[in-house]
């Protein structure tokens, strides 16, 4: 162990200088759930299968909402979705966005995002997307 102590004078630190140096994510990393909302049929299958009850779907209001803090990123919703509009992104959700308090949820709304086939891109600049 004395050798180790001596060697530590000449080796680089084992830690990164986060947040200046960020370790890149892997291809397989489970980062967060994305919904290609125009394809979504608001069937609630994802909400039913979610073990953390993180998804709320309100068909009448045209609303699909995920609570990113409650989500445990297990992927059960992706398997449950009949139209395969959910996907796993390897980018992790950024921290809380205070412009959107209570903010920890990410919402898609039919009012701003019409269903396909009407051409519509997912709402740009949505916080926490």
């Amino acid at each position: 162990m004395a050798r180790t102590a001596f060697r530590n004078f000449f080796t680089k630190p084992a830690t990164r200088r986060y947040p200046f140096v960020v370790r890149p994510v892997f291809e397989a990393t489970r980062g967060r759930i994305l919904n290609d909302f125009p394809k979504c049929i608001l069937c609630s299958m994802c909400a039913k299968h979610c073990p953390a009850n993180a998804i709320v779907v309100d068909k009448a209001a045209g609303l699909w909402r995920i609570d990113r803090f409650a989500c445990v990123i297990c992927g059960a919703c992706i398997r449950a979705c009949p139209v395969k509009c959910l996907a796993m992104s390897n980018e992790r959700a950024k921290g809380i966005d205070f412009s959107d308090i209570p903010g920890r949820t990410h919402e898609h709304n039919r009012a701003t995002e019409p269903a396909a086939p009407k051409p519509a891109a997912p709402a740009a600049g949505t916080p926490n997307a």
Binding site: T4, A14, F26, E27, A28, T29, P51, I73, C74, G75
Partner: protein, 367 residues
């Protein structure tokens, strides 16, 4: 009797935990002391019960695997996989070869990361911070490999009823094995430190001895049992791909803290050996079979070898999508009587490291 003379004091009871610097999780002991010697220890658990077993009748049986995985943060993959194996037994499903091989790979990866984590915590319990940091630095590579292959550092999230959900390519697996080479060398170096460093030897040798007979009689499992000289390892049962790989069951005979530490440190080497073989003989093909329909009425149970020892999963189905009962008998639960026996007769200052060498996982125990 004058005022200055006192009668010989009777036993003192010292509470140990649930909050204690060496304990990562809440566990309470009432230590009955005669002077500095522990003459008895009364364990008490139940601080972090979450009722995860009961959730099984609220969740679809295919989704419950994600809950099962969260029973424990360290043996996460094995809990998920144990649940899957039990349900697969119930359904009569055979997992494809590649799925079985990958399961074995992740089990061993988890064993390495668990044992390195333990080595860090064990070193920390003796105040050997240098060893603690070295062990956790080595572990970092292992959890990165877990993320690269399975998607999560600690909760692997890749177990699925019918197989596994991730299929890392053969190149990725080979690259991971190569990336873990330095960890392997580092583990050997750390093993040397554990064996020869006087700090460790002072605190571990001859402390917390559990005889072979007692270990067997009290139903100890895992490294605790093997350190007392009983050659028992559930992996020999040959679940997943263990029947196809060659490995050695690590045993020691002394039964003290040192023996338990050495069993774990030597098991890391065996796990690397298993992972090498798994990656070299990885079959191609699908990793999972589709599972449909309801589970039949009936019950099933399986046993696995976790880093902490034998674990038992029991499931009972009533023919609906929600299982009726799920039960996990975790290794730490089985080790509690043996832990009490090992603590008896030790001095108060040795209690933290004796408890740590059992590698207690209280979240598992209470579920």
């Amino acid at each position: 009797m004058s005022a200055h003379e006192k009668a010989a004091p009777g036993p003192t009871v010292i509470p140990f935990g649930p909050q204690h610097p060496v304990l990562p999780e809440p566990l309470h002991f009432d230590l009955v002391l005669q002077d500095e010697k522990v003459i008895d220890a009364i364990p008490q658990i139940g601080y972090i019960h979450r009722g995860l077993e009961l959730l099984v009748d609220k969740r679809d049986y295919l989704d419950y695997v994600h809950v099962a995985e969260r029973i424990c943060g360290i043996c996460s993959f094995m809990h998920g996989m144990g649940y899957c194996e039990a349900v697969e037994t119930l359904l009569g499903i055979t997992v494809p070869d590649r799925g079985r091989w990958l399961r074995t790979f992740w089990c061993e990866l988890e064993r390495v990361h668990s044992h390195l984590l333990w080595l860090g915590l064990g070193a920390d319990s003796l105040g050997f911070e240098n060893l603690f940091m070295a062990a956790w630095r080595a572990r970092e590579t292992v959890v990165d490999v877990a993320e690269e292959t399975a998607g999560g550092r600690v909760i692997f999230g890749s177990a699925l009823v019918g197989g596994v959900s991730k299929d890392p390519s053969d190149e990725t697996l080979k690259r991971c094995i190569a990336a873990m080479k330095p960890v392997r060398a580092e583990t050997l170096r750390l093993a040397n430190v554990v064996m020869n460093e006087s700090t460790v030897r002072h605190r571990f040798e001859g402390v917390g001895v559990l005889s072979k007979e007692m270990a067997y009689a009290l139903g100890a499992v895992g490294p605790m049992l093997r350190a007392s000289g009983v050659d028992y390892d559930v992996r020999r049962r040959g679940y997943a791909a263990y029947a196809e790989v060659d490995f050695e069951t690590v045993t020691e005979t002394a039964g003290d803290c040192m023996a338990r530490a050495l069993v774990r440190v030597r098991e890391i080497e065996q796990s690397f050996h298993i992972m090498d073989q798994i990656v070299a003989t990885m079959p191609s093909g699908p990793v999972a079979v589709p599972v449909k329909g309801m589970p039949p009425v009936g019950e099933a149970w399986v046993r696995l070898e976790q880093p902490r020892g034998e674990v038992l999963y029991y499931v009972r189905s009533n023919g609906t999508r929600n299982l009726e009962r799920f039960r996990v008998r975790t290794p730490t639960f089985a080790n509690v009587p043996a832990m009490v026996e090992a603590v008896r007769g030790a001095s108060l200052a040795d209690v933290p490291n004796i408890i740590l060498t059992i590698d207690p996982c209280i979240s598992c125990t209470e579920r």
